[in-house]
Symmetry: C2
Subunit: 333 residues, 2 copies
DNA sequence: CTGAAAGCGCTTACAG
DNA sequence: CTGAAAGCGCTTACAG
């Protein structure tokens, strides 16, 4: 298909057809309330007749408003981060703002270069999954002077704003529950990343303070059912009498449930299992997975809302928003 | 934190410091090979000293190249589409091209408005999940005169290019396999969307041509394990002697496996089960799920490659790329 | 190998 | 309620 580059319609084409100035066309498109109805109608008709679509590069250059929010994620392949992006997307919908997506595939190097690439894009706000830790990156973001929302991890000193929950708190919550249920040989299984380690720490500290024994197995695992099987295997090897396990996410927990079933170990009779994330998978499994509810979508949506509020210059709000944690006790303990 | 809007560094600041013209700075940044090494070094040092980051809106306006590829998905919340986006992202990495993400939440209305919003953004290419069916939308995209890659669904008449597989072919492949394995009471379960219905059609046609009875249950289900349970229930209600079921995706199939286990129905003895998508979940389940391998990432990556090649004006290649289908026979039939 | 001039297509004050 | 002028910060030919 040989397509001739259509000579695109510009704002002065519309102005000429409508018999007004370019500025009136511009105004009709962005502040129609400031234009006399009759004029507005003529302009709108001209826009439709010509199929005029404003050039956003020109608009962004002149107005210093790109209508773009950057979102930086470790990987869009992990459903929890995808859900967070979806929350941001829904928050932005209706404002005609678009998302510029940066996926750095868990590579620190790609993260830095993406941050710099996004920095040149006149973003109106930036939302990142995780905290920005590098001093030079923080300085870069600060120099941009745009709203920045760090999500998932909480910190006392966000670059600008943060929305998330305490990973140590999640671990501690799970341990407290197990202790209260009379379990005494506890274990944690999860990824060997910053979030996993924080959950492990909160879990084991609380367990030991409660006079229970506790092991933590953190490994380079993704969000894979098969990894849950492996973690279970390692946990039982390290601490054979384990009677309660907290996994860093529901997928790992379901993997462990499958492995426990294959081994004929009763849940929760022999071992109690708890996940994190409240995924549909855990709800549909039998026995239904107990979990700590952390809703990825409900991190993304407020992050988007906060970014919008900051862009509008209203609702300063708190610097740090803790979305909190809820224990969802179901059948696995 | 009260941040003063940093007076941003512009290209002429760099030019002044380096003692060259703006144009030489510009050239150093995009075609360093055309600049004398000594000059280049001076410019690069000035860029670093000042922390200069080019304004991409101005660059896009002047060069008519935005460095942005649009990606339109029904929802980023479905992991298969997220994987496709990840494939596109990886394909674009290293070219300093960014993804503008449009998530329309399966709403035809939002899809149309997003398409129009993206149309104004000087995209260098557009990748969409699914086919663009509306004539007005197709006309809009054609008028943009940019590469367009439709993914997942195949068609003989793409707007520009298409990468995907035949949904009817997938259904037919599953049915042929079941027939060859001596099954005679077949069923399909899946979503009541365009892809689900096409898979159902291919499946039932082939089944009946093979003298097997076949029912197809298509419902408004997402990609949920619980939906797989429900579909199984409905299938057995409609056709109690069903001995082989093809599900539109692996998640539904695993849901059915859980339900079959709860009901004490042997797999594959009593019922054979096959999914589609080759998800890790199916591989980690026991018995391991047989599936038709369709790799979402491997649809996204070539889509990105094709877009890049078209942007570069090289490698015309075929208009339609069929990524093909592979039957992965494991333990469930 | 380097630069002066013109222009990309909008919007921002400001004036009336 | 509407418009003339200036400018946003780059890059594109073109010339030398």
């Amino acid at each position: 298909m040989l397509v001739m580059k259509a000579p695109s319609v510009r704002i002065d084409d519309v102005a000429r057809l409508a018999g007004v100035s370019m500025i009136t066309v511009s105004r009709t498109l962005r502040r129609p309330d400031l234009v006399k109805p009759a004029t507005r109608d003529r302009v709108q008709r001209a826009v439709e007749t010509l199929g005029y679509i404003p050039n956003s590069s020109a608009s962004a250059l002149a107005s210093r408003r790109s209508g773009i929010v950057g979102v930086l994620v470790p990987t869009i392949g992990n459903s929890i981060f995808a859900e967070t992006v979806r929350g941001v997307s829904d928050s932005l919908a209706g404002r005609n703002m678009q998302i510029l997506l940066g996926d750095y595939g868990y590579s620190a190097e790609r993260e830095r270069s993406l941050l710099r690439a996004l920095a040149g894009r006149q973003l109106e706000a930036l939302i990142v999954v995780g905290l920005v830790r590098e001093a030079s990156d923080r300085a870069l973001l600060a120099s941009l002077a745009i709203p920045v929302v760090e999500t998932w991890d909480l910190t006392r000193k966000p670059v600008d704003r943060a929305v998330g929950f305490s990973n140590r708190g999640a671990g501690s919550l799970a341990a407290r529950h197990f202790l209260g249920a009379g379990r005494h040989s506890l274990a944690f299984g999860g990824g060997n990343d910053i979030r996993g380690r924080a959950r492990a720490q909160g879990f084991t500290e609380t367990a030991r303070r409660g006079a229970a024994s506790a092991v933590a197995v953190t490994r380079d695992v993704g969000t894979a059912v098969g990894s849950g099987r492996e973690l279970l295997d390692e946990i039982l090897r390290q601490q054979p009498d384990t009677d309660a396990i907290f996994f860093a996410n529901d997928v790992l927990a379901v993997g462990a449930l499958l492995e426990l079933r294959d081994r004929g170990l009763a849940v929760p009779g022999r071992v109690a299992v708890m996940g994190l994330g409240d995924l549909e998978l855990g709800r549909a499994y039998r026995p239904q997975l107990s979990t700590i509810s952390v809703n990825a979508y409900k991190i993304g949506a407020p992050a988007g809302d906060i970014a919008l509020a900051r862009i509008d210059g209203v609702g300063a709000g708190p610097r740090v928003v803790d979305v909190g944690l809820e224990l969802l006790l179901r059948e696995t303990g």
